[in-house]
Each structure stands twice: as C-alpha cells, then as structure tokens.
C-alpha cells in the first residue's frame, strides 16, 4: 500500500510545473502506469481523491493510461506482451528477452482550465 505516498509525490511534481496562482485550475493529471509497475491504479485514484481535498489541487483528477508489459525477444526478434511479468517470449518460449515497457510510472501531461 504505497499508493498514498505515490499520490503525495504526484501533487508535489504538479506544483513544480504549475504556477501557484493556477493550482486551482488544474483539471487533469495524465499518468502512464506500467502494468508491472507495482501500482494499483484504482488504489492510487482512491488515495489521490482522499488527499487532494486538503491541497490547492482539489479541482483536479487523475487520468490513467495503463501501459502493457512488453518484451523484446533477442532470439526471434519479436515483441510480445504478457500479464504475468514473466520474461519468456510468448512466441518462441525463449528467456533471452528484455523489457521494453510496463514497469515504470510517469506523469505525461497536466491540463489546466483557463
């Protein structure tokens, strides 16, 4: 349950980018969350809604895009995805793979009403 501290981090990052006088106009915060990032999107939204009330960003909401866990296979050169986090190519069964996406979590856009 580290989604609460993640929600606090998000608020701090938004404050870095938006001038103080515009805090109240922040409408949406776009996030890309990897399916293997260890973050539960529903739980993060719940935490964000709970703590935003006591911040100047109380008019904002999170818009979350989930990024699939993708692998590149060094053997058959194909890109596959799976929902288990296993490093096995779904096409040829090889483990000589590397992770292309789906393990991190980024803020990509902040939308303001003005």
């Amino acid at each position: 349950m580290h989604e609460l501290s993640i929600a606090q981090n998000i608020i701090e990052i938004v404050k870095d980018y938006v001038p103080e006088k515009d805090y109240k106009d922040v409408k949406s915060i776009m996030l890309k969350i990897g399916e293997m990032s260890g973050i539960v999107a529903d739980s993060l939204e719940f935490c964000f809604e709970a703590i935003k009330i006591d911040t100047p960003l109380s008019n904002s909401k999170l818009v979350i895009e989930k990024i699939p866990f993708m692998l590149f296979c060094n053997k058959c050169k194909s890109e596959t995805s799976n929902t288990f986090g296993v490093r096995i190519c779904d096409k040829c069964g090889e483990t000589d793979t590397y992770v292309v996406s789906g393990t991190d979590m980024k803020i990509t856009e902040i939308e303001l009403d003005s």
Partner: protein, 216 residues
C-alpha cells in the same frame, strides 16, 4: 485551456536522492545490498549468520528498517557492528531519503559492506531505489514455491534470490525446483543461493559471494 506536457517519473525525487547515496557509497568504496522479503523469511537471521562468518574479514555496517520497534537493531548490536534503526511509523517501505538521513549516524570511511534491511513486505520496497548496488530477495520455503509468480515485481527488480529455511523442506509444501523455475521465469538473470540459518547450510557460499563483491 492549457496543457503542460511533461515526461517525469513519479518517483524521480526518490531516484535523485538514491543517486546521491550511490555516489557516496562509490566514493567510499562500499558494497551495499538492500535486503527485501516478506516478514519472517529470515532477513535478520541471515544477517546474523553473515556477520558471524565475515566479522574480522570485512567491515560491516547495518541499516535496519521496520514499521515499529528497534528489536532488529538490538539483535545486530550484539555483534558489535555499527547499526542504525529506521522506524517508519507505518510506512511499508524504506525510501532513499530515510537511508540518506540514517547514513549521518555511520562512519562510512571505516566500512566496506553495508546491509540495508528493508521493511518486511514483498510488494512496496520493490519500487524504491535506495542507492544500493543490488537488491537481494529472501524467500523462505515455508512461504511456498508460487511466490515469485504472485509477487513478480520484487523478483524482477532483484539480482539475487536467497532461498532460506531449506532445512524445513521435508516438512513443508514447497518444491525447490518449482520455486527456482518460477523465479527464473520472472528474472532469468537471478543468482540463487539456498540457505538455512539453523543448519548453516549454504551460508558459506553466500558469504563467499559477498567477499567477492567487497573491495578490501
């Protein structure tokens, strides 16, 4: 309506402090491991056996992380090694800033091996870089062989797996081969040790690996 386009990792602030910690460790030539596991897998017991085996050969210091109490620091103190207890007061993981603050209480120039024992939790500590050289995940046989598949992120982000309590294998429903196969499916690069803190099996091999990584 305005849109500000940014591309920032949510944990960037933690990563920045972790990078400072890592530089500090590098400058002082300290090999640092971050031990992660569920509660009760034997993190502190392995640490105790490790200190017994390596004391006099290398200079060890310990940072203990727990939600509450200084029980673990007290256990480690008995071996006369520098130890700092971090009490997170409810937080389920250590963050780089907590470790950075703890380091103020350790004389780093005398140390070449630092162990950070994270809060017992197989989920949250996986996401936080503390500046360590690598994460070591400990999994005990009593927890079952399916755990790597159930908690993939931890095994994905660790470089070493220590399978502990192997002396209990005859009594528990855990297949060692299945456990290793499951772990390697998540992370084919995992280095695996098998240990028991009771019979001391495997402790020597584990300590030899530490010695290989510590610059003396």
């Amino acid at each position: 309506m305005g849109i500000i386009t940014i591309e920032r990792k949510v944990l960037e602030k933690n990563d920045e402090i972790a990078a400072l910690n890592r530089k500090l460790f590098k400058d002082n030539k300290i090999f640092v491991i971050n031990i992660v596991s569920s509660p009760g897998s034997g993190k502190t017991s392995i640490l105790e056996r490790t200190i017994e085996e390596l004391k006099g050969k290398i200079n060890i210091a310990v940072v203990e992380g727990d939600v509450q109490t200084d029980f673990d620091a007290k256990r480690v103190e008995r071996y006369n090694v520098p130890v700092v207890q971090i009490v997170t007061n409810g937080a389920c993981h250590l963050e780089a800033k907590l470790v950075k603050d703890a380091l103020d209480n350790i004389k780093l120039d005398n140390i070449n091996f630092l162990v950070i024992e994270n809060v017992g939790n197989l989920v949250c500590p996986a996401g936080y870089d503390l500046g360590e050289a690598l994460k070591v995940v400990i999994l005990s046989t009593t927890e079952g062989d399916d755990k790597p598949l159930k908690y993939p992120k931890m095994f994905m982000n660790s470089s070493v797996l220590v399978i502990n309590k192997i002396d209990l294998l005859p009594y528990v429903n855990c297949n060692l081969d299945v456990l290793k196969k499951n772990a390697l499916q998540i992370n084919p690069d995992l280095k695996i040790f098998e240990t028991s803190c009771t019979s001391k099996e495997g402790i020597k091999e584990w300590c030899e690996w530490i010695e290989e990584n510590v610059s003396t």
